[in-house]
């Protein structure tokens, strides 16, 4: 049965997300989906929701949601000090909201994105099979936009479930400095040897211009950047280097083709860390390989389930 929860505080950017919109990239439609797929995966997993269930991605907070009927939910990702009717709640856990209760999160203490899943999953209308919100494309979610105060979020109210939490070893805190593993691209050797060393030796700061399309980095610029390419497909994780020599790591809302030269791509599983950095945080890159990137991604996909 469909129930509704009401947004009382929307925060700077709260989005309905799921695993993303596939099969339409040839039309120029980006994949979107949860930026931190691992934290989102845990929220659904704890509730025994399908892995494809839609949930809320809350960027920074503050955020508040009122439940008109008793509902089981899960919170994961950045810890924004969740409270239910004023009582503190554990992150990375399921909880039960009594009828008429208000769930509130404040500004996250560390990390950037919190995930809130409702048992049964959010039921806004899918677009090309996905409920993911793409703000730039105005697709998915509620009218393709971030949530606003007063929005009513439809969800599938299901029977109460046993409360559970992510095992402590799998709970993440999000640090201010991260290392990302990189699979070098076929264009990697077009960058001079010295520039490649500079890239892996550098410590980059996350620029405030970062968003779900790409994380822009600022550090010692690469000096000799190869010329632009004939545009070809790009996807989340790709590291583009425009002529200013400052790398951009593409994120889940990135465009589908691009012509900047590429150093390589960040492991998909490491993008879950990158999704949680804030402006001013530090990023370093280390060389990796495709086999390792795929093995870890496959393990994550198998764990969270096919459906």
């Amino acid at each position: 049965m469909t129930e509704f929860a009401t947004v009382e505080r929307a925060g700077p950017q709260t989005l309905i997300q799921d695993r993303g919109r596939r099969g339409q990239q040839h039309l120029g439609v980006s994949v979107s989906g949860s930026a931190d797929a691992r934290a989102a995966g845990w929220a659904n997993y704890l509730l025994q929701n399908p892995a494809s269930a839609a949930l809320l991605e809350i960027c920074l907070g503050p955020f508040a949601l009122r439940f008109s009927r008793s509902t089981v939910f899960a919170v994961t990702g950045a810890d924004c000090g969740w409270q239910l009717n004023g009582q503190p709640l554990a992150n990375w856990s399921t909880h039960t909201a009594p009828e008429g209760s208000v769930l509130e999160g404040s500004i996250a203490r560390s990390g950037l994105r919190s995930y809130l899943a409702l048992a049964g999953g959010i039921l806004t209308p899918p677009v090309w099979g996905s409920r993911a919100t793409s703000v730039g494309e105005r697709l998915g979610g509620i009218d393709g936009r971030p949530l606003a105060e007063g929005d009513r979020i439809p969800y599938d109210a299901v029977a109460p479930r046993r409360s559970t939490q992510t095992p402590p070893d799998y709970v993440r805190e999000y640090p201010h400095q991260i290392r990302l593993r990189v699979v070098p691209s076929n264009q990697f050797t077009q960058f001079a040897g010295g520039e490649r060393q500079r890239f892996f030796a550098g410590v980059y700061r996350v620029s405030p211009q970062s968003d779900r399309m790409g994380v822009r980095l600022a550090g010692e610029a690469l000096r000799e950047v190869p010329a632009n390419l004939v545009s070809e497909a790009v996807s989340p994780g790709v590291i583009q280097v425009p002529s200013n020599g400052q790398p951009i790591v593409l994120m889940c809302d990135c465009q589908t083709i691009g012509g900047y030269p590429k150093l390589g791509h960040v492991y998909r599983v490491d993008l879950d860390w990158l999704a949680q950095v804030r402006p001013g945080d530090r990023v370093q890159f280390v060389p990796g390989n495709l086999a390792e990137a795929q093995a870890e991604l496959l393990q994550q996909k198998r764990f969270f389930g096919v459906e």
């Binding site: 494309e137 070809e232 497909a233 996807s235 465009q255 589908t256 791509h265 998909r268 991604l297």
Partner: protein, 235 residues
């Protein structure tokens, strides 16, 4: 031809060095072959100017197998190349797009015409006299990169992109041509406005008009016809 990984779950095949009719023929042929024979493993297939990128799901197929199957298709495609590919792609669907070239919706037409040494009617005749090809879709849903704009009209991108370009704006940048499917920021020169929706988000699923390989002609229409066809002036 070259094949390489492009992401944890993607592989790119390069089929030509430079964009053009021959590259397009190989790209559309390869894309059709992959679509027909690898539907069981691909999740997305993105053709571009000189390459095709295949997205797959590691839960369904491993990298080595996808790569092997693609290599077999590349072999098949190159074996048959000489005979039919260029003939086949020379076809392509013809799409005629009406364009209203009135000054109220064409902020750059006068300048582009002057730079080409033409009067406005001459520039319209040249722009609408050419046939364009869709080489790639990207930038935004339904945004088709077309070419080639006739040499004299080729104007570089604006130094300061506009914060908002109206939906339907018919634009050029260098040798490229496009129609903005949606209102968005943009740096191309705007020559007119098209009343036809290139991206219709109101239908479910949304509809996208143009596909890679399509042939496009722009047909000048009057202001009255533009409005009759559903065009919007004050966007």
């Amino acid at each position: 031809m070259q094949i390489t990984d492009a992401g944890d779950e993607s592989i790119t095949i390069y089929l030509a060095e430079t964009p053009g009719e021959e590259a397009l023929a190989r790209v559309t042929q390869m894309a059709a072959l992959i679509r027909a024979q690898m539907a069981d493993v691909i999740t997305d297939l993105v053709p571009s100017y000189c390459s095709v990128t295949v997205y797959y799901d590691l839960l369904r197929c491993d990298y080595a197998t996808v790569k092997e199957r693609l290599q077999a298709l590349m072999q098949e495609s190159s074996d048959s190349n000489g005979e039919k590919s260029s003939a086949e792609s020379a076809e392509g669907r013809l799409v005629e797009l009406p364009v209203y070239y009135g000054a109220e919706v064409a902020p750059d037409l006068e300048r582009v015409a002057a730079d080409a040494g033409l009067d406005i009617d001459g520039a319209i005749a040249m722009h609408s006299g050419a046939e364009y090809r869709v080489y790639a879709l990207g930038f935004r849903p339904g945004f088709a990169f077309m070419g080639m704009t006739p040499e004299p009209l080729r104007a570089p991108r604006l130094e300061n992109p506009r914060p908002r370009v109206a939906a339907g704006s018919v634009a050029i940048a260098g040798a490229q041509a496009a129609v903005y499917p949606d209102a968005c920021p943009g740096g191309w020169n705007i020559l007119g406005r098209c009343p036809v929706k290139l991206f219709d988000r109101a239908s479910n699923p949304p509809q996208v008009l143009l596909q890679v390989g399509d042939r496009v002609r722009f047909a000048p229409v009057t202001r009255a016809k533009f409005l009759e066809l559903g065009g919007v002036l004050d966007d």
